[in-house]
């Protein structure tokens, strides 16, 4: 059934469709309305789930780590500072192989206190071992929740979905909400081999010395890489059931593109508009939208970007002293290629500053005009 809903409700509807059994979260703008809606859904008995109120995000994450250890499908959501407070338990959840799904509304990190879109929060958690998926639209958000559980429970790794504050979280779009029975055919109940069981207690996360810790980490890495094989299959099955297509990354007009723009999140939509205008002018420019960022789809990126002469990476994030995280990772990913494209790293839209189609058009024109980037990175729209 099609409804006009905000991004946050796309999440809560997705969680409901997945028959999540434990939800624990702590309110933080702009995520709050997700858990607000979920708590009401629980209170109305529309979902057979336990909603655990907690006093912080650290506790929220710890609570779902606990419930997931007990073999129960679990969900949490947060944003910005809240995600940072979860940091310790994020590592634990991945290390313990708990298939938790977390929705993170990308919000800038303070100070200055800022509740607007910026991807620095989730990108600073890239080494926690979580699978990360970046979303562009409310439909994609809802569908990604459903696919996230399917992936997580198969590979036993937690999945973090992210999408931009306000541009998606508080903006209404048409979303096709599937029937729960249909979702049931896609997402079987979670029934792990190992779980907390009072009748047959096992030790979880116990002391693991130098003898075995190393192998354990290797297994996590190996399984994470397997995700890159698995996720396209999950997307394929999803397409069969729901007729909507997703992939590990999305390409737009890349086939004979001389220049490819790389984006993640809502800047992608803006870029599509700019590209259409540039195509009318006969310019051969394409787009690669990052969806999965961890594990890093190195091969796929090389395949998409390897034939372009230039790659523009627009980062709505900043790692101070280096530049944008996506640009940096793309540079590393493409390094083994013989004929590497010239990379134009651009920082834009930090802290929710608007990035318009004209901005993207101008950025592309700048890259087309120059053989090499003038600034690494280029701070687009900086008040000089």
């Amino acid at each position: 059934m099609k409804q006009v809903i905000k991004g946050n409700y796309a999440v809560s509807q997705g969680v409901k469709l997945c028959r999540v059994e434990v939800i624990s979260a702590y309110p933080i703008t702009p995520q709050t309305t997700i858990v607000e809606d979920l708590s009401e859904i629980c209170a109305r008995g529309e979902i057979d789930a336990k909603f655990i109120k907690v006093e912080s995000e650290h506790s929220a994450m710890a609570a779902v780590a606990g419930s997931s250890s007990a073999g129960v499908r679990s969900f949490t959501a947060t944003s910005g500072q809240g995600l940072l407070l979860m940091h310790e338990v994020l590592h634990w959840a991945a290390g313990a192989r708990l298939p938790i799904v977390l929705a993170n509304v990308n919000r800038a990190i303070g100070p200055g206190w800022n509740i607007w879109a910026d991807q620095s929060d989730s990108l600073s958690q890239r080494d926690t071992g979580w699978v990360q998926i970046y979303c562009e639209s409310n439909q994609e958000v809802l569908d990604s929740v459903i696919m996230a559980y399917r992936l997580a429970e198969k590979i036993l790794l937690p999945v973090m979905l992210t999408y931009d504050a306000f541009f998606l979280s508080h903006t209404s779009e048409i979303v096709d909400i599937p029937e729960i029975e249909q979702v049931d055919t896609f997402l079987p109940p979670y029934n792990p081999e190992f779980k907390l069981d009072v009748d047959n207690p096992r030790m979880f996360g116990g002391m693991t010395g130098p003898d075995y810790y190393y192998e354990e980490r290797y297994i996590i890495h190996k399984d994470a890489l397997e995700t890159l094989e698995l996720y396209p299959k999950v997307c394929e099955e999803f397409k069969e059931k729901f007729s909507r297509e997703y992939d590990i990354c999305e390409e737009y007009q890349t086939d004979d593109a001389e220049l490819i723009v790389v984006t993640a999140g809502t800047i992608t939509s803006v870029t599509r508009i700019a590209l259409d205008k540039l195509h009318e002018q006969g310019k051969k420019v394409g787009l690669m939208k990052i969806r999965m960022f961890r594990p890093l789809p190195v091969e796929r990126w090389c395949k998409v970007l390897g034939n372009a002469a230039k790659v523009v990476v627009i980062d709505r994030n900043l790692t101070a002293g280096l530049g944008g995280v996506f640009a940096n990772e793309i540079q590393a990913a493409l390094y083994p290629l013989q004929n590497r494209p010239v990379i134009f790293p651009v920082i834009a839209g930090l802290g929710g500053r608007d990035v318009t189609p004209e901005d993207v058009e101008n950025i592309i024109n700048y890259a087309l005009k120059n053989d090499q980037p003038t600034d690494i990175p280029l701070f687009w729209g900086l008040k000089e």
Partner: protein, 607 residues
């Protein structure tokens, strides 16, 4: 606890390749062999304790027990359960001074439970004339109870449950003592008292009204005839003002005398204006009686209101009914007309000096500050004393009380005649009905111990409730507590350990009472027994301090899954000490302090 060697149970795996690993960091086998209980040095135990209300009750009424039965809608059961420790709920439910409510832990949250009104409700659930359903055979011993007030009634009730054959002697033509001729009908209706005596009679207790010991029969005669005697003759003589002319006017009467006359239906005419001297309950009862007889009443009390021994609720109701109070004043002189009528009551203004032996500030005359009170009659109520003539010097008395020991046995010369015990207002004890009932229970148990040749002091140690001095008849009889779990009748609930966060506020039911204009038109009671709905609502406010209610908090919070249901429909939980680490979370989160942490006797053995 069972201590197994870990080495026998634990299996060791040696992984040669990463391919042998499970994806999750987990043991391959069970960890049941890891008896984490061995880490414990303190352990929780379930231990129901004495709630604050029961501890405060002079009679040791197990309030929480019958409130729970009330909540469960088991009204008959509640009635009989209540009577285990306090046999007259219909009486005390109307007139008790509510020591329990003053101690109620619920007050920390909002207000105490309306225990007194609930007790009245329970008392009205069963016909008072119904005899105890489980009476024992007579034990062959006879008991003479002298005096049919609350102490005598209580001693008779409990002694009958212990198998004694009992006769109650009463000097007046009506049974009940102070309950019948002291406390006015509007506070305690006559038919309630009469029905209680029906009940006692139906239990096989012989009632002998109009038989004054010392006049119609002597104490010595009783001593020859019975094995035990319980003295409960109460205090029925008002103290004198010690003023000239006091005995020369028919318009000067004692408060007790006046109440008794009204109670026995005799005509009295106190006149238009009445001055009541005194500040105790008798003074208030007399004042409110005079108001009902149509007089204007002034109570004259030598100290200030805060020192009054009368119950504040009674004082407030008297004030509503139009009783005037003149504090810090004492009668100095009575001036009589030749016909014996009162010309003038001269009073002196008083002030408060340093505290006296009662702890209250001593009233001191303000020299020369005299004033006149115009009154038609004077009612004296400055204290009551017993008459001990009938004791015939067989029993030692001191300071207007009968000297007693811990068993309430009097100091009398040892011979082979009946052993004598005493209770109620004639022993050194606060003069309340609750205390009187307590003394009757204590004496009955003491007599039974004597009969069985069991040491009372030893017994007392076992059956004392909380801080004492109340003792438990249930415990003496070995009856099960309301919760079939370990009940420690010696430990009072620690109010600091009650977790009020688990209880939501609910205001106490407002007492339903008629307006003063209606009240003063008759001697009819002006309050009614709670409706079933109201009683349920009020009972639901009880937080059951010290008593497990199977709220599951311990079960939910135990991080070691070491709180287990007993199962098979049994009440409560058990601890699995094989795995309980003694963290104390159950103890901390128990809302009502029914878990106790105790130190392990010795470190648990380890291999």
């Amino acid at each position: 606890m069972t201590v197994k060697k870990r080495s026998d149970l634990a299996k060791t795996y040696d992984f040669k390749s990463w391919r042998d690993f499970t994806p999750m960091n987990t043991s391959l086998g069970t960890m049941l062999h890891n008896l984490t209980g061995s880490w414990r040095f303190i352990k929780p135990v379930y231990e129901d304790k004495v709630p604050a209300c029961q501890n405060a009750c002079p009679a040791g009424n197990d309030i929480e027990g019958w409130v729970r039965l009330l909540q469960e809608g088991k009204y008959d059961k509640a009635y009989w359960y209540l009577k285990r420790e306090q046999p007259f709920p219909a009486i005390l439910g109307r007139i008790c001074f509510k020591f329990c409510e003053a101690a109620c832990n619920r007050a920390v949250l909002d207000d105490c439970i309306g225990i007194n009104e609930l007790e009245r409700f329970v008392g009205d659930q069963v016909a008072l004339s119904t005899p105890h359903p489980d009476l024992p055979e007579y034990n062959g011993k006879g008991l003479a109870v002298i005096g049919s007030g609350p102490a005598g009634m209580s001693a008779a009730y409990y002694a009958r449950l212990l198998g004694f054959k009992i006769t109650i002697f009463e000097a007046l033509p009506v049974m009940g003592g102070v309950l019948r001729v002291g406390i006015p009908n509007y506070r305690l209706p006559r038919d309630v008292v009469a029905s209680e005596f029906e009940g006692l009679k139906n239990m096989g207790i012989e009632l002998r009204p109009e038989t004054a010991v010392g006049k119609d029969i002597t104490l010595d005669e009783l001593r020859n005839e019975y094995d035990y005697i319980f003295l409960a003759t109460g205090v029925h003589t008002s103290m004198k003002l010690k003023l000239e002319g006091e005995d020369q006017s028919h318009q000067i009467m004692s408060g007790l005398g006046m109440l008794k006359k009204v109670a026995l239906g005799e005509e009295i005419d106190p006149g238009k204006k009445v001055a009541v001297i005194g500040g105790g309950n008798t003074a208030i009862d007399a004042a409110r009686t005079a108001i009902r007889l149509g007089s204007d009443v002034t109570v004259i009390y030598r100290r200030s209101e805060s020192e009054m021994p009368a119950h504040p609720e009674e004082v407030e109701e008297a004030r509503e009914e139009g009783v005037d109070f003149r504090f810090l004043a004492a009668p100095e002189k009575i001036e009589l007309n030749d016909d014996g009528t009162i010309r003038n009551l001269v009073c002196c203004e008083m002030e408060l000096g340093p505290p006296d032996e009662s702890g209250r500030r001593r009233p001191i005359k303000k020299e020369g500050m005299l004033f006149d009170v115009k009154t038609d009659s004077i009612v004296t109520a400055i204290g009551e004393i017993p008459l001990f003539d009938y004791l015939n010097e067989i029993v030692r008395t001191e300071n207007r009380t009968v000297a007693i020991n811990e068993c309430l046995e009097v100091d009398a010369k040892a011979d082979d005649k009946a052993r004598i015990f005493a209770g109620g207002d004639i022993i050194d004890m606060p003069h309340t009905v609750a205390h009187a009932v307590a003394s009757g229970k204590r004496a009955a148990i003491a007599m039974d111990c004597d009969r069985k040749n069991v040491d009372f002091a030893d017994t007392l140690k076992k059956i004392v409730i909380g801080d004492g001095p109340a003792i438990s008849f249930s415990k003496y009889m070995g009856w099960d507590p309301v919760n079939p779990v370990s009940y420690n009748n010696h430990v009072v609930v620690d109010s600091k350990k009650i977790v009020y966060d688990y209880f939501s506020k609910a205001l106490k039911l407002q007492k339903k009472i008629q307006g003063p204009d209606v009240r003063i038109t008759s001697f009819k009671p002006f309050t009614s027994t709670l409706t079933l709905e109201d009683a349920q609502q009020e009972a639901a406010r009880c937080i059951h301090c010290g008593r497990c209610t199977e709220c599951d908090n311990c079960l939910i919070f135990c991080p070691d899954m070491s709180v287990l249901f007993k199962g098979n429909g049994q009440f409560g939980y058990t601890f699995d000490y094989d795995y309980c680490k003694g963290c104390g979370i159950c103890f901390t989160e128990c809302p009502r302090n029914s878990i106790t942490m105790i130190e392990e006797e010795s470190p648990v053995e380890e291999d």
